[in-house]
Assembly symmetry: C2
Homo-oligomer: 315 residues x 2
């Protein structure tokens, strides 16, 4: 379930005017921006962008970029985009880092529905005049590249039918590869990138039944865990339990010295209208402290206020 | 340009009734079937299927399958399907041959527009409850599999922008791979499967400018040409000049002892509403005999009559 508290009787034109007022005069009224955009759903935000453009002949997104800064700006920018376009931006930012942040590519390709992944690939074309797979391939290499390109180009069957015989034989292939530490085995990549999610989950269950341990645990059993292993591990978790995957992602983003704002923003912004409530529950179960509390402790200012609003805090 | 002569004032209900009449009584009236379906465009054929189902509570396609046989049945069956569904069937048939007919997979993935290829992948899901890439991967192996899976999962950027610097560097990569006979070079597959068609054509042109010979010619320069080389050759031809590719495909299908009816039917049925007129012109230029004449010589009966109708013969 979603966390954001959506205002049902908001007027699109009033919202556009209120945002315009927030930009004008001396300094920007960040509180007003948060109280409006933090309580509007995807559809309302799109309408506000259109109304703002019509009223003021100005692109709301560009204006927000010029008015805001830092992590707050990034969070608002991601929030105001359509989901497919937002994921295209997240993917592009992740690809262009000095070392490609493969987690983002794996999340997009393994958590989104097959149709939603196509929508991201289409949005990527519009925005960057190149294909997503083209850019992934250009910025990665070796086995990681093979895995990421295969995942991002997949258009999995989305039905629920399961072939039990296949689940058994492919659980065996996965098991043999892990035993032999042959993580770059072609068959492993083929299975993870082409089978339907239902079929893969059946194979992972079969694996656990036969070995008494989950595939994700066995995969990280070595003392020296390489990048490919970590990427395979992330892909399997994204396919089998996205919410647990996200809980761990925010946990890692918050814990220790320094916060990983990019990861924290990404999880909250992309999941606030989907399943952030469930992720919050998992977080509480695992850490005995609420996610709101943890976020409040690790962040500050407008950025903090905005994240807490998306997390469902009443004004 | 298309070849079929479409009847503009046909009535969908009359067509459905006339087909029903053609099925009834002693024997089937194949001539009536050809004179109706051979002169209806994609949209009309779809409407006839729907009208027939409503009028007679019977699936027209199933009925046609039970009434017709042999190459004629196959040709009518392919013709009556929606293009994306037809390509899904063609791909499935090609995959399931004792040795996968990679030409069909390459045609679909390199000639269709990126959006049309997605439509085929979607139709494949509906029909077979699996993904196209899943089946391609399961029925092929080694380097050919790498190439086919990469091509079939591509969603190329469809714009016309060209990066000349990239065209130069990738023409060099292709050239080095051919010189070294490293046809399974990862970079070769990456380039062919991820770049936009406009960009690839720029790279092939660059290749020809630098070497004085086309990449397709150099690729088949060896005396002993392997499957992967042939497949790469087909992919490059499909990307750079689909019509010339199809001209050669029909030429090969017809020439010598015995006709390759599958290939002949495939080219005529899939191109009759698109560019079969251009393919016919190329055929005449190359062979000094009209394609209609050649097809008439190599085929017989209803199959011949149907192909000639799709080729634009007046009744």
């Amino acid at each position: 379930m979603a966390t954001i508290i959506v205002s049902q009787n908001a007027s699109v034109h009033e919202d556009a005017q209120a945002l315009r007022n927030a930009f004008q005069g001396w300094g920007t009224d960040e509180k007003a921006i948060i109280s409006i955009l933090g309580h509007r759903n995807e559809f309302q935000r799109k309408q506000i962008r259109q109304a703002y453009e019509e009223l003021y002949q100005e692109d709301l997104i560009k204006r927000l970029e010029s008015e805001l800064s830092g992590d707050f700006e990034k969070a608002v920018y991601r929030w105001i985009l359509d989901p497919a376009d937002r994921d295209a931006v997240l993917a592009n930012v992740a690809i262009k880092k000095a070392e490609t942040d493969y987690h983002v590519i794996i999340e997009i390709s393994c958590i989104l529905s097959p149709e939603d992944l196509l929508a991201v690939r289409r949005a990527y074309h519009c925005r960057y005049k190149r294909s997503l797979e083209e850019d992934v391939a250009a910025h990665t290499s070796g086995d990681l590249r093979k895995l990421l390109v295969a995942l991002v180009t997949a258009y999995r069957y989305a039905g629920h039918e399961i072939n039990e015989r296949l689940a058994k034989s492919e659980a065996d292939i996965l098991s043999d590869a892990i035993k032999d530490k042959a993580y770059n085995n072609e068959e492993v990549i083929r299975i993870l990138s082409s089978r339907s999610k239902a079929q893969l989950i059946a194979s992972f269950n079969r694996y656990r039944d036969e070995h008494g341990t989950s595939i994700t645990k066995n995969l990280l059993g070595d003392s020296d865990v390489g990048t490919l292993q970590k990427a395979l591990h992330a892909a399997i978790r994204c396919i089998s339990d996205p919410r647990k995957y996200f809980e761990k992602t925010v946990r890692n983003a918050i814990k220790g010295n320094g916060t990983d704002e990019d990861a924290l923003t990404r999880v909250i912004v992309t999941r606030a209208e989907r399943d952030l409530k469930d992720i919050k529950e998992l977080y509480y179960q695992r850490n005995s402290v609420s996610l709101d509390h943890a976020v409040a402790k690790e962040t500050a200012g407008d950025y903090k206020a905005f994240l807490l609003t998306l997390l469902g805090k009443e004004d």
